[in-house]
Assembly symmetry: C2
Homo-oligomer: 400 residues x 2
């Protein structure tokens, strides 16, 4: 069968690691499979390239930044092809353009529109191992584009979809865990997880897989294996819900530490004031996550929202702008919070999860600042210091 | 008018240097010229990329090596475009493929077949500064190719030819000298030099310009300016013979220190033995330069040839092979020699140059090992220790 492998930056950080991957791919080829490999730039090369551009200007032109970044993956595909050929395997490297990956959107944040599989199919028929540059494609003007951070996952799944192939993502972690093992050391690795649960975990900040890649996998029914070691197959398979044997109530807990909370008190309760706040946030590029609002008096209310801590500069600009428009408000930024989320397909048909969560928190005198729910998740903003305690309590309660 | 600028690796080694070049190009644009820029990889980046490949295998696949090396120039064009745009100029970067540079031949040693000037002409009409990756093109299979060392000069001249433009090559040296100023400090910079003389100097090892670029300039009548500083125009113009006012007998002296000489004594004088020697040299990749041969006895002769010192490994393999085929020969490698060459269009119509050279050497008791002549040059292999002395004697004799 056809297998699309994907190796991230740390897996191809050195020529020794590239040789190791080449040997493994050779073995897979020898087993009779057709092999396609998607690779990222070596180690921290993308960051190094961006730094070069920032030495010139704070705000580099995006078309040219895409060209600059795309060289990182081109270097890796050439080196991996050189390694495979030196081992006696017939291999060929393709850029995103050559692999037929068509994209659209804004430079540095393109989305994949289509993949033309003719060229790759021909090369596979010739017995070649096909190596494709991840993270990149070409737009309708013939310009090189990139897919945003983590875009190589999306490249791999899109290729697997176009070629009716299995997708194997090799990364730093050896699979998907029910909860971050650094926080709760009894965390269990999941053999299977559904697309929907993985997407919730991904969007909620688990950080293992690019959510767009999982979404694409769901859309085209591509099974995605996520694992660490070459050869041993003890990672996690992301697949359709019906294939996930173990239907547990809660599949996983994600902890997102890149969270800041903003409280704004004494806002005159007019709809236009809410608009002022979120319009300013959007204009400045603050990615709003959770929002809550309540009326304190008939004329004034309070409001809170969360956003990534890394949006700090944009957030400060926003606060300054809002204070100019609404001089009476009292805004306050709290960076000492984390978002903890419970995710599970089982929630759809089980009510009462939220009340079990609140009961545990109450029994242990743990306060939370905000709460939000989706069909298959509950997220809470808690104080950073309560992180481990809440993780352990919830893990035990829901047998994660 | 249209001007094609070319900047080599050391001119674009840092982002500061790239910003400096961007400022200068902006000034040229402001003067009303159409500007095309060809750039090389930053500093020693090409060498660094080749080293990465060599970490994997001694003999990397050439197609993939071309891909690998071509990323160096792509990085520079993106950074230069970012710099120009940050200064408020409309600029766009093009790879060799996008610039319409079609090539053929062997990977890593391609030649330019044609340049499609439509895209660049359109971009110039839109008022853009067009930045083109040097050293690269695309072959008929759509693969990235490179043009061999110094290929960016060739890219620049080919673009100038296709666009009926002037070509300005900015490099480490501030022009073409009659003789290397490090060897003879009274060396004079030439304001003009003919294509033919420059080609002889280039092939003979002067190292300033890629000979193929000069040849292309001659073929299409492109005037090539070679200089160092931005703005000041005190370099050398390479142009047609009839434009070179000063018709001196000897235009320049080149000194090539990358020379080794091989003496082979006691070879049975059969044509097939000469073939054995040069066939083995060719197979092992030794670039033979000068050859001399003479019969010592009726049955045995001696032979000498020169080649680049840098072909040492290949040369040693060759010697081993020859000794296996012809066990009685006595080969000897002499690395302590240099090739010194006199070049001048004036030689065509002036006889007696060679005898003046031999007279000076005799008067000063300087011996030489080999001699060869072309229509406009005389080259001598001398001992390395005599280099300065011979350079000064010849410079004075021919008023260089």
């Amino acid at each position: 069968m056809i297998i699309v492998h994907k190796y991230g930056g740390s897996s191809v950080a050195t020529t020794d690691k590239i040789i190791e991957i080449a040997k493994y791919l050779g073995e897979v080829k020898d087993q009779g499979h057709d092999v396609i490999v998607v690779v990222s730039a070596m180690g921290k090369r993308t960051d190094a390239l961006i730094s070069l551009a920032k030495e010139i200007t704070k705000d580099p032109d995006k078309r040219e930044l895409d060209r600059l970044m795309s060289t990182g993956e081109q270097t890796t595909i050439a080196l991996l092809a050189i390694a495979l050929k030196s081992l006696g395997y017939d291999a060929i490297s393709l850029t995103g353009v050559q692999a037929g990956i068509k994209t659209s959107g804004f430079h540095t944040k393109n989305v994949i529109d289509s993949v033309d599989n003719n060229k790759i199919n021909d090369l596979l028929k010739e017995g070649k191992i096909v190596i494709v540059a991840g993270f990149q494609g070409v737009n309708s003007r013939g310009d090189v584009t990139t897919l945003g951070r983590g875009g190589s996952d999306t490249s791999a799944v899109a290729l697997a979809a176009a070629l009716d192939a299995r997708c194997e993502i090799y990364t730093d972690v050896d699979g998907i865990y029910s909860i971050d093992p650094r926080v709760y050391k009894e965390a269990k690795k999941l053999p299977l997880i559904s697309y929907d649960e993985m997407m919730e975990l991904a969007y909620l900040g688990a950080g293992v897989m690019e959510p767009r890649a999982v979404e694409l996998g769901k859309k085209y029914g591509v099974e995605i294996y996520v694992g660490k070691s070459l050869g041993e197959k003890n990672g996690t398979i992301i697949c359709a819900e019906e294939k996930c044997m173990e239907k547990k109530l809660i599949t996983g807990i994600s902890i997102n530490e890149n969270t800041a909370m903003v409280n704004i008190e004494n806002i005159p309760t007019y709809a236009k004031n809410v608009y002022i706040v979120f319009n300013s946030a959007e204009k400045n590029g603050v990615n709003i996550d959770m929002i809550s609002q309540n009326d304190v008096t008939a004329s004034h209310g309070s409001m809170a929202f969360t956003c990534p801590k890394t949006d700090e500069t944009a957030l400060e600009r926003t606060i300054t702008e809002i204070k100019e428009a609404l001089p009476d408000i009292k805004p306050e930024i709290n960076k000492d919070v984390v978002k903890i989320s419970l995710v599970g397909i089982g929630m759809i048909s089980n009510i009462g999860i939220a009340s079990r969560v609140f009961k545990i928190l109450a029994e242990n005198s743990i306060s939370f600042h905000q709460v939000s729910t989706s069909e298959i998740s509950i997220s809470l903003i808690i104080n950073g210091e309560d992180k481990e305690k809440v993780a352990v309590l919830l893990s035990k309660e829901f047998e994660i």
